[in-house]
Symmetry: C2
């Protein structure tokens, strides 16, 4: 909102240039005239009537005015909805916590609907004592609470061959960040007792795909969890209810949902999901395998194609950054397609392998801009631009596209997904 | 889960004594016989059929097996549901984040249902320039992301005269903890310009109660926010959509929802909500006024009356602690009604004026116990027991009962709300 032009400039004006606030009646007669509805200082309708009481929604839902804040699908993307994706509406969110109802989905055979009373988790293979746990038994072990991002390996995958999808929900919406509660995997493996020579585990889901991945034992003993809660409540069915694997910083397909079985072995299993799928096909026809870690990445969520700028003046650039290798230590923003970088302001918690929220506030005079962001993590790694990635990786890849995204902010406030040379 | 008795004792057994796990077929033939349903190593039903695909729930909901995880009301508590309470099911949650759909409600005239396009916030009184902001204008100011607890002043209020309600949802369920995104109140007050002599603000809601409270300017300029998001998404209607005041560490009624107006003045307004209500009636008939801060408090959420212990052996005591005066630095747990205190394990983030999660793991041999917890905050304050509180405050109070709660864990695993002398 603006100060009236006759009030002169003060240091406070840096935040208000060009914004469109009203001055209330008393300071200016314009307020009422510009404000024909029943708003302050008039009494709005909702102040003149009782609202719904408690108990109307035993489990709450968003306002009816937020119906556009939903996960969205791309029907042409896959042959069937049971083996497809829905995307988190990143452009409609802020902060670092993703509400459970908006966490993206990726299934290989649909959502297994498991009765928790009948849930079992088996640990077998190269262990001293094969074991089966019920859910209640898992809840008897000491618990850990950890905030982590989860990103699908294929997030931004459709951008390898050039800017394609108009909105960060589609280009980057296969990432979410919640607080998990569960048992450190190390605790359960120690319970079973690892045999000498054990080097890998295979995790298998209870869905019809029996989704499975080989995971190095060193990672399993490091920071993996068997989680049964997200953001306080039990996991949602589409996120693996009643228990899933949490593999911090590594690609989402390894975070086996509806976790049914952990087999300990001395070598990887080379399953379909790590041979024909989830490998990175290089220009020379060879494929990189076991590229587990999700490298540092960031995205400006607003302004963005689905969240255009509403007017000139003070504009908040808001975005998310994350790294599978540890903490994000800095995020840079460019307004000119990457020629000049400015340090963004990180606000809120900064955790290892979790999303951080960054902001860059500036006074937009209405000229066309090329908005970019890049994340730098504690290893010193700097998020690369897409062309540099393509020089090394070619354009056959589906996975691990962490290239810098460019949004073309136009004078009318609309935003388009573009590439810069 | 247990190792079979013939496998001998190892250091790992400390976590498994008395738990009831099965040994899989191969190690013992008992597994299949004890396991008549289609569970591993058999193939369960949900692995033999495709589940729902993506897009079935554009905004996700909990599993159908979690229908008991809801906010609950106590119909006899108030004359009408529009001026009542629904309680967070603390016994069904873990970690520190409360999912938005389970945040307790307290309304004075029901839920104002505000069209965000027509929302206005007015700042007036002892300011240089009275201002009105639209929601879009609020979103143009630099944002902060903060995790805070919010507790109703009347939380545990029914326990002043003795143990009454059987479950922490009812005794302590008027607290929740989320990440807020919003504008520091200081930013907006500076925008309007504070006149010399300004010492207080009055915040008023847009609901039919026009709920209002006087707040010292020092607090307003310290850490208050005008929040429009919780856990990433826009506020829920019952939590003040589209914008509310966040008054960290202070009683919930001051966190004015559906925030409509901020008036700056040189003294408090002595409104109904700080004279006839939200004052603490002492034994001598006088009332304490402006008792804003919520002192350190904790509650064991499991085992608890609504979450009985399921069997002997390894038992995880899980609980929440918080303090309106800063960080919780320690939580103690007693199993014997407060004679012997042991330090609990805090796991997960510890923020200023936010909930922390604590655990105490022990091997329960099945004897009756009197479970208690007490929070200690960074000021050195130790959560008091109820009788010590009553010695000072009497039993006329409704508000600010932060006394130590006692759960009587019985040999059959049932838990009852009791008082100890």
């Amino acid at each position: 909102m603006s100060q009236p032009p006759d009030q002169g400039s003060t240091s406070r004006r840096k935040f208000v240039v060009g914004a469109a606030g009203l001055v209330v009646a008393g300071a200016s007669g314009k307020a009422i005239a510009d404000n024909p509805k029943n708003q302050p200082p008039n009494v709005p309708e909702w102040t003149r009537t009782l609202g719904d009481g408690v108990g109307v929604r035993a489990y709450g839902t968003p306002s009816k005015f937020e119906k556009q804040v939903i996960r969205r699908t791309v029907p042409w993307l896959t042959a069937t909805p049971e083996s497809s994706v829905s995307f988190t509406p990143l452009h409609e969110l802020d902060g670092i916590i993703t509400p459970n109802g908006l966490c993206f989905e990726r299934h290989h055979s649909g959502i297994a609907e498991i009765d928790p009373a009948d849930y079992r988790l088996m640990i077998h293979g190269m262990v001293d004592k094969p074991l089966i746990f019920t859910l209640d038994e898992l809840k008897r072990f000491p618990r850990a609470n950890r905030i982590y991002f989860l990103e699908c390996a294929a997030n931004s995958g459709m951008e390898w061959r050039g800017a394609q999808l108009n909105g960060c929900q589609y280009t980057h919406g296969m990432v979410h960040c919640v607080q998990y509660t569960g048992v450190p995997l190390k605790t359960l493996l120690n319970e079973a007792g690892l045999k000498s020579g054990a080097k890998w585990i295979m995790a298998e889901g209870g869905d019809a795909a029996a989704m499975n991945r080989s995971i190095p034992l060193a990672k399993a003993l490091d920071d993996c969890l068997i989680a049964y809660r997200m953001n306080g409540e039990m996991l949602r069915p589409e996120n693996g209810y009643p228990a899933r694997l949490v593999v911090p910083g590594w690609q989402g397909n390894m975070w086996i949902k509806w976790l049914r079985r952990l087999k300990v072995g001395d070598q990887p299993w080379f399953t379909r999901e790590e041979t024909s799928k989830y490998t990175d096909l290089m220009e020379n026809g060879k494929a990189r395998q076991f590229t587990w870690v999700m490298d540092a990445k960031s995205i400006i969520t607003s302004p963005s194609p689905q969240a255009p700028a509403k007017s000139k003046g003070l504009t908040v650039i808001s975005g998310l950054a994350w790294s599978g290798r540890g903490k994000v230590v800095r995020v840079d923003v460019a307004l000119d397609g990457g020629r000049n970088w400015r340090t963004a302001r990180i606000d809120g918690p900064v955790y290892d392998k979790a999303c951080v929220r960054f902001y860059y506030e500036f006074d937009w005079s209405g000229e066309a801009l090329l908005l970019q962001s890049r994340a730098i993590d504690e290893t010193g790694y700097v998020q690369p631009n897409k062309d540099d990635l393509r020089k090394i990786r070619g354009v056959n890849s589906i996975y691990h596209n962490n290239g810098i995204q460019t949004w073309h902010l136009k004078p009318d406030g609309e935003v388009e997904n573009v590439e810069v040379g």
